[in-house]
Symmetry: C2
Subunit: 296 residues, 2 copies
């Protein structure tokens, strides 16, 4: 299963190859086996599952409805197997990052960490919505994650990583663009564009504005910071985003970021990994390194 051999995993891999190529002989060539063996492997799998997976026909072979249904499991199983050997043997790391972090903030850390250590191969990096990353930690698909929000569930180690300021962004030429700092009163009654949900930004804004009786109007929730930036550039509204997500645009002058007045709202970012990670595992080492290089 976890390496070359002849077991059920090979049957599943053969099944996938058959679905892909629709030709037993091609599969046999591809997998370095005889054509009879391919027939036999599929047959064993079908008997084990008690279901016909492939409909053999004179003009090609197609998956049955059951076979199509089995596809998703076959893929998940092989992915999980591959991931398991990767973790235990090659020690390749899988890093998860919630969207904003993965897209805008993480690269320099990855570069400086993995460039320095010649022994490391580049890690597998997955970027998803915050809650999806949390779920992938659960299933073992990723070892260590950088998150915008964490619920302190048991079995995990969570370390504060950086504290990222929220800044207002406006298009160039906007009346606010010249201001050094934005009074919180200015935001009252202005339509505010929202980005990805489930990242805890709402809570932070509530703490910042709520105490000052700010009246904020949340406009559309666009689902991603990238979308928010485009809308702001187009003059369709203003927004509050993590400062690091607009560094490039500010340099190029396509957006203007304005820090908020007073004690600026900021979001705590976390590095999280499973407690069960070996103390000397590369994934944990990377997590500890990130936490040690906390900024802010």
């Amino acid at each position: 299963m976890f390496t070359e051999g002849r077991g059920t995993t090979e049957q599943v891999a053969t099944f996938l190859a058959i679905v892909r190529t629709r030709n037993f002989r091609a599969v046999a060539r591809e997998r370095g086996q005889s054509q009879g063996a391919v027939s036999q492997q599929l047959r064993k799998l079908e008997v084990a599952l008690g279901v016909r997976l492939i409909k053999r026909d004179a003009r090609g072979c197609l998956p049955t409805p059951e076979g199509t249904g089995f596809l998703v499991f076959a893929e998940s199983l092989l992915r999980l197997n591959a991931r398991a050997v990767e973790v235990l043997r090659t020690h390749r790391i899988a890093i998860g990052a919630s969207s904003n972090i993965g897209i805008y903030l993480l690269q320099p850390y990855i570069k400086s960490y993995f460039d320095g250590c010649a022994g490391h191969r580049l890690p597998d990096i997955q970027i998803h919505q915050n809650p999806v990353i949390a779920h992938k930690l659960d299933t073992g698909e990723i070892d260590v994650a950088t998150l915008e929000w964490w619920d302190n569930r048991p079995g995990y180690v969570a370390r504060p990583w950086r504290r990222e300021e929220l800044v207002a962004i406006v298009p160039p030429g906007h009346p606010w663009a010249a201001l050094p700092r934005l009074p919180s009163a200015a935001l009252q009654g202005v339509p505010l564009l929202g980005g990805e949900s489930g990242t805890g930004t709402g809570r932070i804004l509530a703490r910042y504005f709520g105490a000052q009786l700010g009246d904020m109007q949340i406009g559309m929730r666009l689902g991603s910071t990238e979308a928010v930036k485009q809308w702001v550039k187009a003059g369709l509204g203003v927004s509050l985003v993590l400062a690091g997500t607009v560094a490039d645009e500010c340099r190029e002058g396509t957006l203007v970021a304005i820090p908020l007045e007073g004690e600026a709202p900021n979001k705590e970012l976390y590095v999280v990994w499973r407690e069960s990670l070996a103390a000397d595992s590369p994934a944990r080492a990377f997590g500890e390194w990130l936490a040690a290089h906390a900024v802010g």
Copy 2:
């Protein structure tokens, strides 16, 4: 793998049993094998992975750090196997539901559908945050899901299910409690408690209030509707929730729900399943049935 036999899956199961019982002989009895076979299975697994999983010691055997790290994969693999046979052979359904739906809205449908059909065994029902459910659809862990928010990703069928109204909730005795309908102006400047994130409620409120220049203040995000209800009961704020989530409290008089004035904001709920589900599969049948019994 998918049934009794002697392959890698048996090795993984043996590994898990060893970690649990910490006694090779007990595992042998439990699995109806000789003790030598247990030794050998673990050994094969360790060789295949290239890692020592269990540290055998005179006073018991414990998982090594690598073994602990492998645990999560072992469990995921067996879960996936079990789920695969369940789907293909026993045809048991796995239903996912985002938190609010699973906790408050789904039960009557489950009851009326599965009570009526004697042939069906009760389904596996999983309740998680909306994005986690979406991810579990991807991995095949669930067949069909009821969701508060769906991103129309390809490969899935999404049907509108019901349209659930958002109502304001206040504690009994609150000044608003006697109002038949709540003017949207009343909510301006009032701290509003937020529930689970990632469910699209923010977008809906923005559409309702935004057009009317409403100024809303989002208070804390408490993460769950259950928490919101407790805070509202305690007089710490008011909130907007799906009407169905407070039906019981309104009947008991512990909360008062007030419909909003004008065209009330409402949330469209969806039933979603993978396109690859067989047209005659029980999961799809249930999904279609739900969609056909759409309310609102």
